[in-house]
């Protein structure tokens, strides 16, 4: 219908102008998977449709954000929101210097900073389940976790030093059209603080067994999931104000309900 088209074009334009230089996003279709950690009784977790940034947020993009919101610049950042190494590899408050590429992922950012960045773009951080769901895809498959080559690729990255200095978009493009889920930097997730590794609560005794090889028999799935285990263990060790050189982020967004409603209207 003509009118419908016209309005949707207008809407798209309107959104685009509102958010200006927004990062490219791709839609992720809903689905379910059994994450290494988090599901009770190893039941599949459902992931609703959403959108995710194609690339991690870069130094240049983060700088643009800081110019708009200077209270998040290095010298103004409040201690409760980021530790002392926040953006410590940058030259100064509003200069990432010559040692850092403009299109390298921004790192040394805290969870608070990453969260704020996404909010100010009208987005949010991806949930851990969403991130893992996207990250299990290789070039061709939605779930490549059982593929040996895929796991080897991830493991070999874990051993490679200083990949954080590389530009974005140099690793493989996965099934969804998303780059750099593996091979560049670790990434913050919205609910990183939902992991238990220390046996401090009543429920995690059982789940710990899934994580620590020593506490249960090691089977093939455990070995395949070793890469994922590294990620969960890393997240479990983080606090929201921590910043490290190899930890960046990308944003996500709920799927706009408009599309569905349009279909219903028809």
């Amino acid at each position: 219908m003509f009118l419908q088209k016209k309005i949707s074009v207008f809407l798209a334009l309107f959104t685009a102008t509102l958010f200006g230089q927004q990062e490219k996003m791709v839609p992720i279709k809903e689905g379910s998977f059994v994450p290494l950690y988090g599901a009770t009784n190893k039941k599949p977790v459902k992931v609703a449709s959403f959108e995710i940034d194609v690339f991690p947020v870069t130094n240049a993009q983060y700088l643009a954000f800081l110019k708009k919101y200077p209270e998040y610049s290095r010298s103004k950042m409040k201690g409760i929101f980021a530790d002392k190494s926040y953006l410590s590899h940058w030259q100064s408050d509003f200069d990432y210097g010559t040692n850092n590429l403009s299109n390298a992922p921004v790192t040394n950012v805290s969870w608070f900073a990453a969260k704020k960045y996404c909010e100010c773009q009208g987005k949010r951080l991806p949930a851990m389940d969403e991130w893992e769901y996207v990250a299990m895809a290789d070039e061709k498959r939605i779930d490549a976790r059982t593929k040996e080559a895929f796991n080897k690729y991830i493991m070999s990255w874990y051993e490679k030093p200083k990949t954080y200095a590389n530009p974005i978009g140099q690793t493989f493009k996965n099934y969804w059209g998303v780059y750099d889920m593996h091979g560049l930097v670790w990434e913050w997730t919205a609910d990183f603080n939902s992991i238990f590794l220390s046996g401090e609560s009543r429920k995690d005794k059982d789940t710990d067994k899934n994580l620590f090889c020593g506490s249960g028999s090691v089977n093939a799935t455990d070995l395949m999931n070793y890469a994922a285990f590294m990620r969960y263990a890393f997240r479990g060790s983080l606090k929201a104000r921590y910043t490290t050189r190899n930890l960046g982020f990308r944003c996500a967004k709920d799927k706009v309900a408009l599309v569905k409603t349009f279909q219903n209207l028809r």
């Binding site: 219908m1 009118l3 609910d191 238990f196 609560s201 995690d204």
Partner: protein, 211 residues
Amino acid sequence: MKSKIECQKIKKGILSLFFLGIFALAVTLQSCNQKVKAAEKDKAISDLSIYNLPSKWTNQNGQNIEMKDMKGKVLVMVMIYTSCKAACPRLVADMRNIEKRLPENIKDKVKMVLVSIDPETDTPKRLKAFAIENKMNSNQWVFLRSTEENTREFAAVLAVNYKKVSPMDFSHSNIISVFNADGELTYQQEGLGVNSDPTIAKIKEEAQKIN
């Protein structure tokens, strides 16, 4: 061929959707700006103060409050959920024991705060009932809930981890935190049924600094 009426309907639908969209965008953008403003306003509070958090909360009496409304008191905080059967009753008991052992002359300088990690279930009404049931109904006690996002953020500040493991159950860290009058974290007691002596000593110390 679509009838004219149907077309009208669609037009209306689209228009209202469009305004809804604008509204949603405006809300998102505004919430971002609001937070920025709130952070700017209070230059007096220190860098490490929880009063930098602009989040809004509702207490057991249904009143809306911000964390900084409690500024000037020593806060003893814990995160729980009321439908919890295992760890929380013990955490709650720990809180009650701490409160009981505080000297009368500092009680008006201390607030005992319980924050729900299950805002969906823990309505103000439910929090109130829980307070009465657990004999935590005096002015000393504050029960709070907010949105899921604010709760996640607050947990991040307290370094409390939690996860919904089933519709009715959460895993969560058992941490009791003490904040001074400026909202800075000064002590954390970890675990269940641990000796609360150091926690109480810290509360007394911080309360005596007031005035």
